[in-house]
Symmetry: C2
């Protein structure tokens, strides 16, 4: 999304608009608040693919019946460090934030906690829920399955989803360390962006219908796993790890069998699975050395020279810089999102979102 758009909105106004829209689409207050929290978190950080852009999608899924606006989510603690959350086909944001709350509570008691979430749905950016742990002073790890876009290593057909891994750790005196990555070589929307501007893709990131690498966006039928043709066993293995932790621990089907996020069926629940885990950093080596060790690591990292013209960054640092800028100047909506949001306001009879003047 271009940062040069004139249409920028205040965070609080965006939150009010989202909550109103989601309420009109049938979401109860806790569901609407959780989805709003996740979408605004992603948009503030500049993760535009997983931020406010998704609001119309969730409205469709709520109105189509894929999602329950007032789910009855049930958590069962199975053992002192583990549990299962049945998300009852509600909004995935509420499911994942709730699951992480339970994981954090267990971790505070016994050092670690993890929750498998079944009958869940799309939750936006995985990083949001890892961050929720870090904001409580814990390490967070989150994974989620998704419908197939990514080849297996040496495969010719999409099998895994982009199966994200998010990891966050608290850093004393600054924003958390935050990694939020797909296990594919490239995001799907990057292929679309390159196609739109007629640019050739990097090598080793996408493939045609035969599974052969292509650099022509229009020929792309699948993404390569992280590592490309030669080392894609790494990305595919990480994608599989995500399936094991998400789909299998929750007893759900794996990504290959999921209905596509984009429809056309917006009436059937998809049965997505999440996995969330929290660790207490002070529950390992005696004397709580974690904060000082992490500080020394980050100091060393930031002192590293970049290659010509470039800068090394701590994972998350780019996002926190974007967040500071967007908190100060407003969150931008590109023309497609402006149109989509105007349409939502009109159709759902919600006051339209106004730009900052």
């Amino acid at each position: 999304m271009s940062e040069t758009t004139d249409f920028r909105v205040e965070r609080e106004a965006l939150e009010r608009f989202m909550k109103a829209v989601l309420r009109r689409a049938g979401a109860d207050d806790v569901s609407g608040s959780a989805a709003t929290r996740a979408l605004v978190t992603a948009s503030r950080m500049g993760t535009d693919s997983h931020g406010l852009r998704l609001l119309p999608h969730y409205v469709l899924a709520l109105q189509g019946g894929r999602l329950k606006g007032a789910p009855r989510m049930r958590f069962e603690r199975r053992l002192p460090a583990t549990g299962y959350l049945d998300a009852d086909d509600g909004l995935g944001h509420l499911a994942a934030y709730s699951a992480m709350e339970h994981a954090v509570e267990m971790a505070e008691q016994v050092g670690m906690g993890a929750v498998a979430v079944g009958n869940a749905s799309h939750f936006g950016a995985a990083g949001c829920y890892a961050l929720a742990a870090a904001e409580r002073g814990l390490i967070g790890l989150v994974t989620c399955n998704s419908d197939p876009f990514v080849l297996l290593h040496q495969g010719s057909r999409p099998f895994h989803g982009t199966n994200p891994i998010a990891f966050a750790a608290p850093v004393a005196g600054e924003q958390p360390y935050l990694l939020d990555m797909a296990t594919s070589a490239i995001p799907w929307n990057r292929v679309q962006q390159y196609g739109a501007i007629g640019r050739e893709l990097p090598d080793q990131v996408a493939a045609d219908t035969e599974g052969q690498v292509t650099r022509t966006p229009g020929e792309v039928a699948a993404l390569l796993p992280l590592g490309g043709s030669e080392f894609g066993f790494k990305g595919a293995g990480l994608g599989g790890m995500v399936e094991v932790l998400s789909s299998m621990l929750a007893g759900m089907q794996h990504g290959y069998r999921l209905l596509p996020m984009g429809g056309p069926d917006m009436a059937s629940p998809r049965g997505i699975a999440h996995f969330v885990m929290a660790l207490r950093p002070d529950a390992f080596a005696p004397g709580d050395p974690f904060p000082a060790c992490l500080r020394r690591y980050l100091d060393d990292l930031r002192a590293q020279p970049g290659r010509s013209g470039a800068e090394v960054l701590v994972p998350g640092e780019r996002e926190w810089a974007c967040q500071a800028q967007r908190d100060a100047r407003g969150i931008p909506l590109d023309s497609a999102n402006q149109a989509a949001y105007a349409e939502l306001a009109e159709r759902l009879d919600v006051p339209p979102l106004r730009p900052l003047s």
Copy 2:
């Protein structure tokens, strides 16, 4: 290593030889047995870089004083799911196997268990310890820091080690799912192999002294993080996750500050850190759906068509095929290892290892 070598040894003979050598180098029985178990596990699976090749290295480290042959390792359970193992500068294999034993025991009680290992040392292949969990019916995750060979994303100097991530899950009726990967784009010894045969490296895997990508093995000064120039934030972020879990939870220095594995200082302990975790697959969704879900996933995976001339494999499948073959035909030693093993036998007055006839 060429599979065409005539010099193949029986597993039991290799184990006897390793244990005798390690005993002569000062290792006590539990240390020698643990190192032997790990090295033979890696060599049976075909992970030659982390198998029997390393025996002379550990002898040097024991004789030089870097490693204690009879360490007093101390485990402290900090909370029901977490603990710390002080490895007292003993062999890393004993430390990691012991730590995983404790993690498994905690997981059996409370669903999950994790142990940070401090004052540790090189442990060979990370996969060995994840496997140890899977062999007990649990999911295992293992990470370890290492001395710097890998650039940060957009960096120009090595900062992270190859910082491996190993993940294993039990599969009913067959060998475990096993991922054991470095977070670099390529292993260091692959660069050496390409150099030895005068072959150009793949693009986007290694860099020169300025941090610029090079495909000439002789120019390589560092490895790129997994993902290469454009998407290396993923590999670098995973490498950082490994540091956070390993170095920071154990209260040790991070990889950038470690003494090099290869010396010349073989007298000072290096203070490596491991992280091991075990999860009970039946401690999440009710009714233990894990085995059937994983079975369905593997069946679907194996039914996927490969791209022309290639085959899709489950992570670990290549290793298990190699293990079956080496268990039947013997474990090969290339000429360099034959020479190194003959030298060890001579110098330590141990009966030499004889090939199968």
